[in-house]
Amino acid sequence: MSIALATRAPRLRRGQVAAIVPTLFMIGAFVVPLIGLAMLSLRPTNDLNTPQPGWTFEQYQQVWDTGYLRSSVLDSLWLSIRVTLTCAVVAYPVAWFLVRTSSRWARTAVFAIVLSPLLTSEVVRSFGWRVVMGGQGPVNAALQALQITDDSIPLLRSGWTVFLAIVHVLLPFAIITLTASLGAIDDALLRASANLGASRTRTFFTVVLPLSVPGLTAGLMVVFSLAMGIYVTPLLVGGATMSLAGLQIQNMAMVVFDQPGAAALSFVLLTVTLVACALIALFGSLTSRRRTRG
């Protein structure tokens, strides 16, 4: 009898019951709001930017036609590319150190420092850059002490300061993903390369770099997609006038109250981000495939 029952009723597989509640939660609190946002971006609006019944692409048309909105997406793209490349280059020596150092103490200390900004509120870090780059801040004080300049330089609200602050916010992500993939490289390969007479530089470019491509692409994708949507840091460090898509979305939604327009711009931003991430992934898999074949 019990055997007959067991075969008749399809038994639930392990973990299926556990998945029910979180899946329902994610559908209700994440998928449904995003679908709602997608529908909102396809609604026509009246003069007060209130969504009306019906369907139209005019919000997307408006994003494309409005010069500053179109260029904000391009500016975000350009800034994200610069931030991503900088993070990749700067993350290498730190990840290398974390993997190679024999001192447990040094590794723990560096790891804690790398992680500390990640777990500090973005708003605190941005505020910190305001202080650092302020008129009487440490950078200006140092420049004046070294007599490079007499008056304080207006470092805030410059594109370079915003760039630095964004690199600061996102660098830990690059370091952590890269550390994971550098750690997986077999020591024997490095010794073999050295024994065969390769210089350190050559070993780096022909052994370490190719083997770290999977971790590198994962890290680049995380940094890139976070940089594309960032708005808190540029707003606090650079001011509301910066041309970045995330800031424009925030501005349209919370200042101009054009929610359908903001919805359309955020889907444009998401699409551009996903396409760029797909390109990074493609680049990554092409590089590693060429390696394994050659």
């Binding site: 150190f97 650092v132 009487q136």
Partner: protein
């Protein structure tokens, strides 16, 4: 041989210097905040003119900051238990389950990390408008659940992936029901992941700003959201004092996580 030794030393030292520079860069703004919070004067001059606690006193004396500190703490207390339950179930399902569509489910659970905060905030704001919950505690609570859930799933999943399925099978064959086996065998084995998930959720909830800005109402202003709006108007050392408190809270949470869970496995 001598040349290669020198080469190795040069490489090692240039690596160390690069690491020091990067660490300095990462710590610089955090130190600047902490130092300026103890400044005795009402400015951000470096080096500061004197030492005082006056900005901390001011932060606690002013009702707005005190309310926000209270609200942030309360919100974290309301968010953590729910995220821990959801994240434990979700992390266990994606890491230890053996059903079809597990990979898809894992992407769904981690998806909030990939969507820009500004977009998630807008989507939730619009949704809350239709539910009539704009500016309510429920609204910002829901937003914090969504934002911190993937972090908790990830940490629990790391723990769950290392559980030996034989243990649960043994419990089942000894007559324990599915639920009993889960509660008495699986959950205790997941404990380090669950505890780390709870602290990580606390850190995320205390620091969340990009999404919260959209759904926070006049009575539901968290500390980061208040810093966000205050810093846009005029920066004052009170902001530095509150930021330092927030920083200390997350450092404590991280130190506690580290006791239960190797922090390097968090990401």
């Amino acid at each position: 041989m001598a040349k290669s030794h020198i080469d190795a030393a040069v490489a090692r030292w240039s690596n160390r210097i690069a690491v020091l520079v990067v660490c300095g860069f990462l710590l610089l703004p955090l130190f600047a905040v902490v130092i300026s919070s103890f400044n005795s004067a009402n400015n951000f001059r470096f080096p500061p003119e004197g030492f005082s606690f006056r900005w901390y006193e001011e932060a606690f004396a002013g009702t707005a900051w005190a309310e926000s500190l209270q609200f942030s703490a309360l919100l974290a207390l309301m968010v953590v238990p729910f995220v821990v339950v959801l994240g434990t179930l979700g992390g266990y399902a994606v890491a230890a389950g053996d059903f079809r569509g597990r990979g898809l489910l894992s992407s769904l659970f981690l998806a909030p990390m990939a969507v820009p905060g500004v977009m998630l905030g807008l989507a939730l704001l619009y949704q809350l408008q239709t539910w009539g919950l704009v500016g309510s505690t429920t609204g910002i609570w829901l937003a914090h659940l969504v934002v911190s859930f993937p972090f908790c799933v990830r940490v629990v999943a790391v723990s769950a992936a290392s559980i030996d399925p034989q243990l649960v099978r043994a419990a089942r064959s000894l007559g324990a029901s599915e639920l009993r086996a889960f509660l008495t065998v699986t959950v205790p084995l997941l404990r380090p992941g669950i505890i780390a998930g709870a602290f990580l959720t606390t850190v995320v909830s205390l620091g969340e700003v990009a999404t919260s800005v959209f759904v926070s109402g006049s009575n539901t202003v968290t500390v980061p959201v208040r810093i966000y709006s205050a810093a846009q108007v005029q920066i004052e050392p009170t902001i530095a004092a509150v930021s330092t408190l927030l920083l200390v809270a997350s450092v404590l949470a991280i130190a506690l996580i580290d006791r239960f869970f190797n922090v390097s496995r968090l990401l």
